[in-house]
């Protein structure tokens, strides 16, 4: 179980997260929706200590930490129980696909090299990149890079994988292949928190949808409720703009 309680975060005078609490059960897929600047990415980054929250508590499994006053050891501990998939992939540019996937195992978790390699190969096969082991990120397409990114997170066998807009830097064709992989991860029963603008993905895969705006959780519920019967006016407004986009519309 992952629980974030009363998290607050300001950037200067701008308050990005105003007292947000989120609870995710084991094996649940939670999708966070919301307009740009609503604080959803910041929330995700705070969970992995890529941003330091101003206050709040975080529980992952049996480990509870204060988001503000955590020691280096606690931060490392949390990071070793979580994995992060970035919007712009952030693969290690100096390492090949397989080395990227092995890095967290070998250096971060002291898994013997041969064993790490075996697990990394398995993960890369699983995301459909069995022929790209020794390619550097610069030699891979965006979709392939993001699949390596997912394999790199998945191979660590974390308690939760955090996805930060994993498809928004990809072209429409590549979005499909990447979402398919994320769906496969979800089917494995791994706990996931996904920030995305892909509504159909949220409808298909999410167990729970959280709608954020202006640094607070406006509404949360099952996708059926949120998409077909939202209570809050702001949710209705946001969804109507997105869903009313004519799929045949082209620029």
């Amino acid at each position: 179980m992952i629980e974030v309680k009363n998290i607050k975060k300001n950037f200067g005078k701008h308050s990005v997260l105003k007292d947000v609490s989120v609870k995710v059960e084991d094996g649940q897929v939670v999708v966070i929706l919301g307009p740009s600047g609503s604080g959803k990415t910041t929330l995700l980054r705070c969970i992995n200590f890529l941003e330091n929250a101003d206050s709040g508590r975080l529980t992952i499994g049996n480990l509870e930490v204060d988001l503000k006053k955590s020691t280096k050891k606690e931060i490392l501990n949390i990071r070793r129980r979580t994995a992060f998939v970035f919007q712009n992939y952030n693969l290690f540019a100096n390492k090949t696909a397989i080395e990227n996937v092995m890095e967290g195992l070998v250096t971060g978790r002291h898994v013997p090299k041969a064993q790490a390699r075996e697990r990394a190969e398995e993960a890369l096969n699983w995301v459909g990149l069995s022929d790209k082991f020794n390619y550097y990120p610069a030699q891979l397409s965006g979709g392939q890079q993001q699949r390596v990114g997912i394999a790199r997170a998945f191979v660590l066998d974390p308690e939760v994988i955090l996805f930060d807009e994993p498809t928004s830097a990809l072209d429409p064709e590549l979005v499909g292949e990447t979402l398919d992989i994320i769906k496969k991860v979800a089917e494995k029963g791994i706990t996931m928190i996904v920030v995305t603008h892909e509504m159909s993905f949220a409808q298909d895969v999410a167990d729970k949808v959280i709608f954020m705006d202006g640094g607070i959780v406006v509404e949360e519920g099952t996708p059926e409720v949120i998409f077909s019967n939202p209570k809050e006016e702001r949710t209705k407004q946001f969804l109507s703009r997105i869903i009313s986009l004519d799929p045949n519309y082209s620029i």
Partner: protein
Amino acid sequence: MNFNLEHFKESLIYGLAYLPNTLSLVFVPLVIGLTFGTVIALVRVYKVPVIGWLMAVFVTVYQGIPIVVALMIYNLIFMLKFNDLAAFLHLKKSISDMNNIWVGIFALSMAAVCSISEAVRGALLSIDKGQNEAGYSVGLTTIQTIRRIIIPQMIPVAIPMLINNVVGLIKASSVVMAIGIVEIVAGATIPSSRTYSFFEGYVAAAVIYWGFTVVVESLAQRLKKYTGKFRRNLYD
């Protein structure tokens, strides 16, 4: 002006005889500069409290001093204080036993530390912040991320600037003549004071420096290719 080939050859031989002095005046400061320069750059880029700020002040202030001036100051301190220091440390050495090439090496090292730290800092700043975050996200510590991800990516970016530093160091090594250390230039002009062929002497020195620089540059290009093999040819 006549060019006496015999005298030129003689100067060349004398100059080359003192090449080892120039080599130690270049490579010892280079190694010291790379080590401490990288540390200073990292401390500044990762904003280590207080030390980072102190290093920034030190580099900025020190880079405002010409090498010759710093060299003269160190040499004076060395000459005036060495005997006292030796006595204090109970060393059975006096200044007459010491070779002041170490003063030259020290002055050049200080300059190298500063300029190399700036080159490395520039290269570090060019690396995307996301590379650090990716390292942290897979459970690496800051030190592990720096060692395994950031430094390998920094090296090929830094090499062109470092070549500049090394070439600068090779040429700057000739200023130690001012405190009486014999290196390539001083060596090449030793026969000139007998034969009056100073022109040949200086040309011989120039030729040696030129050869030295060419060798260093070609080695550095190879190193850059090797360390940058993960990048597309785009930059090379």
